[in-house]
């Protein structure tokens, strides 16, 4: 009898764990400035375990087949019937015409069991060039992020080069070294928390009390935010609302506000970003309300909240981001994440030393 049970168990296990090779499709447009040199989906597979578990582990080797230098690129990963979409971006590229680079994708998708083998699609969402021109369908609205990454990269490289060129105790090689050490220390101090964002009005946040929150004013910001309020519950904050005023002389079409949360111990951290698509003429004001709630994965007692305008996109597609001078305000410096380029440069300093960093800066 026990032998029969063992056999049944082994058969059930064998059927259940039968992993199929993954069907995949890489689809780049014919006029794409990036071409696929090789692909390796070696460890990718699809397993039926109550649902289709699709593990995508791929390495793509790509070549810049266009005429401009590529600064960043975003690939979209999706499959039929799976929830939403995923993306993998490389924001710190510097690939000249004809040069090659690689992208690694490690994604797990879960979709309902359906007939037939699942097919994973990897498509090009966008490529940003060094002149801030863009190529791609931009299904995920990645162009905005990619332009911001490049503007931050230009700002930070300029800052580090200026520091290197400056004399005195805070300038030159020693000044750059100090700045790198300071950056690495801030990156290490970052008190991040796992967080979930629930969209829609179905959350029970409406029953929670409303609390005001203040905005840190950045004088150079083209948009001023005020009169912020949100509902706060146990390890939960949501339904944020605030007002914005365009104090520049250019129409605005998109802005992002960083949402800062302070716990009972007085620790502040960047909890989420609040993007808003809205048209604001010069000197025009308008309300922003978000149907979403922020849920922390560990218990937290929220003492207060604050925010600041972290980026603004004008009607012509150009963007404003805070300058290094504005970020040097003590509070912002502790809260704002370093740019992807600052992290790349600090990693080069850590791994290869100050001379390698100086050589890297001289490439731009």
């Amino acid at each position: 009898m026990s032998n029969k049970i063992c056999i049944a168990f082994a058969v059930a296990s064998g059927i259940s764990l039968h992993a199929q090779a993954l069907n995949h499709k890489i689809d780049f447009p014919k006029d794409s400035p990036v071409s696929l040199l090789s692909e390796d989906f070696g460890n990718s597979n699809a397993t039926a375990r109550g649902a289709n578990l699709i593990d995508v582990n791929a390495a793509l080797s790509l070549r810049n087949s266009g005429q401009k230098r590529i600064r960043s690129m975003t690939l979209m990963v999706s499959t039929q019937d799976a929830a939403g979409k995923g993306s993998v971006s490389v924001p710190t590229l510097d690939a000249g015409p004809g040069e090659t680079f690689s992208i690694h994708i490690s994604t797990r998708l879960v979709r309902p069991l359906t007939a037939g083998n699942p097919v994973v699609e990897v498509t090009l969402d966008g490529v940003l060039f060094d002149d801030l021109s863009f190529y791609g369908p931009d299904v995920l609205h990645s162009q905005r992020n990619m332009i911001r990454w490049e503007l931050e990269a230009q700002r930070d490289r300029k800052y580090f080069k200026t520091l290197l060129a400056a004399g005195g105790p805070n300038g030159g090689i020693e000044g750059l070294r100090k700045e790198m050490l300071s950056s690495l220390a801030r990156q290490g101090d970052s008190s991040q928390r796992g967080v979930q964002m629930v969209r829609g009005r179905a959350t029970n946040i409406d029953a929670e009390p409303e609390s005001q929150f203040a905005f840190l004013d950045i004088p150079e910001s083209p948009v001023e935010a005020s009169n912020g309020r949100a509902r706060i519950g146990a390890s939960l904050a949501g339904a944020p609302q605030f007002e914005v005023r365009n104090r520049s002389n250019r129409p605005v079409r998109h802005l992002e506000v960083a949402w800062i949360v302070k716990d009972q111990q007085g620790r502040e951290f960047l909890a989420a970003s609040m993007p808003a698509d809205m048209t604001l003429a010069p000197n025009q004001s308008g309300p922003v309300a978000q149907d979403a709630a922020l849920r922390f994965d560990r218990p937290i007692s929220i003492q207060s909240m604050s925010g600041f305008v972290s980026s603004v996109e004008f009607a012509d597609g150009s963007q404003w981001i805070p300058s290094r001078g504005a970020l040097d305000q003590t509070r912002l410096r502790q809260l704002v994440n370093p740019s992807p380029e600052e992290q790349r440069l600090s990693q080069i300093y850590t791994k290869k030393g100050i001379q390698a960093l100086i050589e890297e800066l001289r490439k731009f």
């Binding site: 994604t107 964002m197 609040m274 922020l294």
Partner: protein, 214 residues
Amino acid sequence: MSREAMSRHVMETDLALYAAGDLPLWRGVVVKFHVRGCAECRALVEALRLDRQELRRSADDMPAGLSKDFDWDQLAAEMTANIRVGLAAGECVTPRERKITSVSWRPMAIAAGLVVLLAGAWWLNIPRTDTETIGRALRNIATGKRGGTPQEERDPVVGASSAGVVLVENGGQIRIDQGGLEPVMYSVSTQGSASARYVDQDTGQVTITATYVQ
């Protein structure tokens, strides 16, 4: 009627019914005709009629409670009930024999095997998130808690943590973890996206993964 037929007497039960006037019409005519020609049967009918009259007189002499309208069915039911009560009482006072049931190891082994098989099948086939959701729902039922959780989870949820980014929507899920690496930073946005940033330790190249609500 022939002599031979007349000599065949009517059954005594029919004569008793005839005497009481309870025979059906046709049968009653036949018996009457026979009794007229048969002295033996006529004597028996007369005797039965006399007995009947005697019984009626005896009934008239019974106590008032046992009149002719007495409900004999009710009396029979009460007697049956009393007999049953007596039997039940007897069982109560009679010492019982202790039944010793022999426990066989086979059914227990089969049950244990089935439990292991079901647990294994569950572990292999049901995604962990579904198990967690069912566990939460059962806990809520057990504690009688009316949380907003089941309602919330019908809406899309994006999450970012040191394990990467995840989107759960309509029973499907997308999780990006960059091969188990720990992100250097992660965040969510109120428009329904979550992102995580990774830095390659050798080249410094930065990779940003994200999930988006459709």
